[in-house]
Every structure is written in structure tokens, then in C-alpha cells.
């Protein structure tokens, strides 16, 4: 792996991304989402003695950033290399798949963590909670990073990334409603959303040990998607041989 090449790729991507309308809309939507969640959480709504919670603050914002920002940006910026037929040129420069992936993932993660920090500051998190929250969010961010890469592998263009990506985003947010409901079943513990929501509660209570236990399931999901991605790469390599 050549770090000089990775640095050049990152630099080019940043010069390019600021003019990328799709990515800018995603970032703008994420900022609107943070503001909306913040505003809605300032009001309490009661219907028949039940309190209506619109969004579970940071865990919901994290879900949005992971599913929408990370998966979408990663999928888009990777597939654009194929769509703009620049991948072949990069291969001629001996840019490896790993170097390209590291460069693109760095961009995506920098944007995602930036947004997350902004969100946590808006929600008045203390510095320690911001750092802890970022570390705790990492498995979920990685899970969607691999999912975005996986989508890019199967897509020919950005339209296909959206086409395959939206059902995933919708399912994730449907699950968000389920795990935050009063439904008491073991099945919901399988979903990463459940653990993210509980984990953040413990972070805010400074119970780091319990919070770290809630990282296990998201890590398993991240590993699962990485293995699926690896399998796809092996299949493509064999096809190209």
C-alpha cells in the first residue's frame, strides 16, 4: 500500500466532492435532520397518557448519518469511478483496490464523524461523551461503510446505488421504530439499532463497561458485511483471471 498515492487520491476526492451535487444534498439533509431532531425533542407530546417520542436524539441521528450519509456517499463515490470510466486509468497507475478503498473510506468517515460531532455538540454532549460516542459509533459506521462498498460493487452507476440503497435505509428506519417501541421480544436484540440506542444511554450515564458491551452486536454486523464484501471481491478476482 502506497500512502503517497492514497494522499493524492484523497486530495483529488475532496476537490471533486465539493462540486458533487448529490453529496451536497445528502450533507444538507443530514444537517436538517440534526436540527429537526433537536427541535422536536424540545417539545413533549402526549396522546392518551402516552408520550410520543419522534426520534431518540443522537442514536437516531447516528442511524441517519450511518445509513444515509455513510452508505450513500461511499456507494456513490466508489461507483463514480466506474461510471466516469476513470477506474481503468487508475488501474494503469497501479492504484490498488485497497488504496482506492482506503482513500474513499477516509473521505466518507471524515464527513460522517464531522456530522456526528456537530450533532453531539448541538445536543450539548460533554467532551468525554463526544469521544466515547464516536468510539461507540464506529462499528455501526463501519457496517454501513461496508454496505456502501458492497452496493458499489453491484451497481453500475449512482442511480443503481440509490435504487438498491433506499430499501436498506427504509428497513433500517422501520426497525428504529420497532426497537424503540415497548415491544418486548428477544428478536429485536438482533438488530444493531437496539444496541446503539441502549449503548448511548449508558454512555450518558458514564457506565462505559455496560456501554461497550452494546458494541458487540454492531461489531458482528460489521464483520458479517465485511465477509460478504470479501466474498464478492474473491469472486470478481477469479472472474478477471
Amino acid at each position: 500500500m502506497d500512502f503517497r498515492r492514497i494522499r493524492i487520491l484523497i486530495q483529488r476526492e475532496f476537490e471533486d466532492i465539493i462540486w458533487n451535487g448529490q453529496i451536497m444534498i445528502v450533507l444538507f439533509s443530514a444537517l436538517i435532520m440534526v436540527s429537526t431532531v433537536y427541535i422536536l425533542n424540545q417539545f413533549g407530546f402526549n396522546v392518551d397518557q402516552y408520550e410520543i417520542v419522534f426520534f431518540n436524539a443522537i442514536p437516531s441521528v447516528l442511524g441517519f448519518i450511518s445509513a444515509f450519509v455513510v452508505m450513500y456517499i461511499q456507494g456513490n463515490i466508489l461507483v463514480e469511478e466506474r461510471e466516469h470510466r476513470t477506474l481503468k486509468v487508475l488501474q494503469l497507475y497501479k492504484v490498488s483496490r485497497t488504496e482506492l478503498l482506503v482513500a474513499k473510506s477516509t473521505i466518507t468517515l471524515v464527513i460522517a464523524t464531522g456530522l456526528l460531532i456537530v450533532a453531539m455538540i448541538v445536543f450539548r454532549y460533554e467532551v468525554l461523551h463526544v469521544v466515547g460516542g464516536l468510539l461507540f459509533s464506529l462499528p455501526l459506521l463501519m457496517m454501513f461503510l461496508f454496505l456502501g462498498t458492497f452496493l458499489a460493487e453491484y451497481s453500475k452507476n449512482t442511480i443503481e446505488v440509490s435504487l438498491y440503497g433506499w430499501p436498506i435505509i427504509i428497513v433500517y428506519f422501520m426497525l428504529e421504530g420497532v426497537v424503540n417501541s415497548n415491544l418486548n421480544t428477544i428478536l429485536i436484540t438482533v438488530f444493531p439499532n437496539f444496541h446503539v440506542a441502549r449503548g448511548f444511554d449508558y454512555i450518558l450515564r458514564d457506565d462505559w463497561t455496560t456501554a461497550s458491551l452494546y458494541m458487540v452486536v454492531p461489531i458482528l454486523w460489521a464483520v458479517l458485511f465485511y465477509l460478504l464484501l470479501k466474498k464478492k471481491w474473491n469472486a470478481s478476482d477469479q472472474q478477471n483471471m
Partner: protein, 339 residues
């Protein structure tokens, strides 16, 4: 110093996609290979697959070329980042190759100075192609492979490509140029080959051979020409012969030892030899502008001077077809047309 290519061919299933190749290209030489798209892709894949390098099929100066990063490859299916500007794009390539160069010089050579800060997606098709040519001036290598570089290009961009080739020659680079058009191959190449199922055959371009053949052919004098009796030029299709009025024909070329009539942007195979056609059509204003080409001078609109050794004739028809003009014929045609 030379590039030697000894490809063992390419067979997929029971189909031979590429026959065995044996090609040597000297430094500063442009080997133009005329082929159809399938053979072109199969040939290019020799440079793109690791197997060729592992089997030492590509040698330069007696040493095996290690991989495709040691050579420059241009293919029309390669793109650029649409939101970057030509200036940033050129700088990015330079950084990737880790070479220092004068960006302004590169952009001037490729005639992109006026759009240097314009986004690539806003450039014309021709400007985008010229930007791709710029890549060849950045990479420090000795082996350059171009696939269809001038396909559907305008005159200005073709001239830019000529300048790029001159620059590469100055650097003593070896150029392999794949083209579907024999005219382009003849115009750009110092040696021209045809690649088909039978393998690679060199197309004779030597001016001396042309002159010797001309002496041997001994075109009859004007009196004899007018005594000959003919009215139509015949071409054979599947089940019939078509008879063309001589003035309908735009130009005639020899392709794989067959005579092809170009009439109104269509091709017809004639049963008459090029030599006989030249004799018959001389009184109708046809001129043997190249060993393999006989052109209807009434159709010629432009004479393009690419360099002091390279000329073409542009025809005044719908597709503005281009026909090569030999170096030795340039002066003769100039006198004949009195321009």
C-alpha cells in the same frame, strides 16, 4: 532499441480471438495496426493482462516489460473526472506518476489553455479527447499504445494528436496505434499492418515501391485511353452485379487484395483490379493518390497537410471522408490541380 511483441494469440472456447503475433517496433517509430474492433480488443488485452508479462511476451530493448504500468495505454473508453478542470486533472495525473512538468506547456500543446479552468463536463467531446492525449505527455515511458485515438475527431484535435505523436517521437518512444481506419493508419503510421484472422500483415508503404510499381504499370497514353470502350464500373453483391457510373464513385481502395468502391457512403466490392480501374477512370478525373487509393478529384474538397510527410484529402460528401495522399504524390497533385 525496439519493442518486441511475441504474443501467443488468444483463444476463448473454440474461437481464436487473436492469432499469434510477432511484431517489432523501433524507437521513434509508429506502428499503425488496422483491425476490426474484436481483433483490436484482443490485441489490446495482450498489454492489459498479467499473463503477457509473466510469459515475457513483451520485451523492450531485450528486457522483459514487467507490467502495464511501464507503458502508456489510451483507449476511448477511459474517462476523466467531470467536476475537475483540465488544469487540476493534469496536475492529478502528474502527482500520481510522481513527475514534475510544466502544466501550461501540456495544456498549450493540447490546445486546452482557453478552457484550463472550465469543468471537464462542460468541455466539448473533442476537448475531452485532447485532455486524454495530454496524459501521454505526462507519463514517462517508452511504450505508447493508442486505441482508436482519432475516431470521430475533428480536424483540430487530429492535428493536436499529430503534435502529440511528434513529441513522443522526439522522446524516442515506441508507438503502437490501433485503428479501424486504414486511411488513419497510413496517415499516422511509419509502418502499417493489418490484423485479422490470418494474422498480422504489413501494408507496403515504401515510396520507392510505389514508384517502381508505377513504372511497371505503365499507364497508357491519352490516345489509347480514349480508345478504350467502357461506360460502367461493375460491383458484385450477393446475387447481382451493380453497374456504377464512374462519376458516382467517391473513391476506390484496395483492401485485403480486393477492390472496394465507395459510393455515397456505401461500400461495394468490385471484380476489376485497381490497376485496370485506374486506367479506365483516368479520363474521368480519377487520381491514384496512394498505392491503395484512387480518388475522384471532383469530390476532393480539402488537402490537409498534417506534417511535411503526412497528407490527406477530405472529400466533399456527407461524411467528409478522408483519403490518404502519398508524400510523393503531393507535389504532383499540387501541379495537377494548380493551387
Amino acid at each position: 532499441m525496439a519493442l518486441t511483441l511475441k504474443g501467443s494469440g488468444k483463444i476463448i472456447g473454440n474461437k481464436e480471438l487473436l492469432p499469434p503475433i510477432d511484431l517489432t517496433v523501433q524507437n521513434g517509430e509508429v506502428a499503425a495496426i488496422q483491425a476490426d474492433i474484436e481483433h483490436m480488443d484482443a490485441f489490446l488485452s495482450l498489454f492489459e493482462q498479467d499473463k503477457s508479462y509473466l510469459a515475457n511476451e513483451i520485451m523492450y530493448d531485450g528486457n522483459a516489460v514487467a507490467g502495464q504500468n511501464e507503458l502508456f495505454i489510451y483507449s476511448p473508453d477511459m474517462g476523466e473526472y467531470p467536476r475537475l478542470t483540465p488544469e487540476k486533472m493534469v496536475r492529478f495525473w502528474g502527482q500520481l506518476y510522481n513527475v514534475d512538468f510544466d502544466t501550461s506547456k501540456i495544456l498549450t500543446l493540447t490546445e486546452l489553455t482557453h478552457v484550463r479552468t472550465k469543468k471537464i463536463k462542460l468541455l466539448t467531446y473533442y476537448e475531452q479527447k485532447r485532455l486524454q492525449f495530454a496524459r501521454s505527455l505526462i507519463q514517462k515511458t517508452r511504450i505508447y499504445v493508442f486505441k482508436e485515438p482519432t475516431y470521430q475527431l475533428d480536424l483540430q484535435s487530429k492535428k493536436v494528436f499529430n503534435h502529440v505523436l511528434e513529441e513522443i517521437k522526439k522522446m524516442h518512444g515506441v508507438v503502437i496505434l490501433l485503428t479501424s481506419s486504414l486511411e488513419e493508419g497510413i496517415r499516422l503510421g511509419s509502418k502499417v499492418y493489418r490484423l485479422n484472422d490470418r494474422g498480422m500483415q504489413e501494408v507496403e508503404l515504401d515510396e520507392e515501391i510505389i514508384e517502381q510499381e508505377e513504372v511497371r504499370d505503365e499507364i497508357p497514353n491519352d490516345e489509347e485511353l480514349f480508345q478504350q470502350r467502357f461506360e460502367k464500373i461493375s460491383a458484385k453483391t450477393e446475387d447481382k452485379y451493380i453497374l456504377f457510373d464512374p462519376l458516382e464513385i467517391d473513391y476506390i481502395e484496395t483492401r485485403e487484395r480486393q477492390t472496394v468502391l465507395h459510393v455515397n457512403n456505401e461500400e461495394f466490392y468490385s471484380t476489376v483490379t485497381m490497376k485496370d480501374l485506374e486506367t479506365k477512370l483516368l479520363p474521368y478525373g480519377f487520381y491514384r493518390c496512394h498505392r491503395s487509393y484512387l480518388v475522384n478529384l471532383q469530390r476532393v474538397r480539402e488537402v490537409i497537410v498534417w506534417s511535411k510527410n503526412s497528407y490527406s484529402l477530405t472529400l466533399d460528401n456527407r461524411n467528409e471522408q478522408v483519403v490518404p495522399l502519398s508524400k510523393s504524390k503531393y507535389g504532383e497533385l499540387k501541379a495537377l490541380l494548380n493551387w
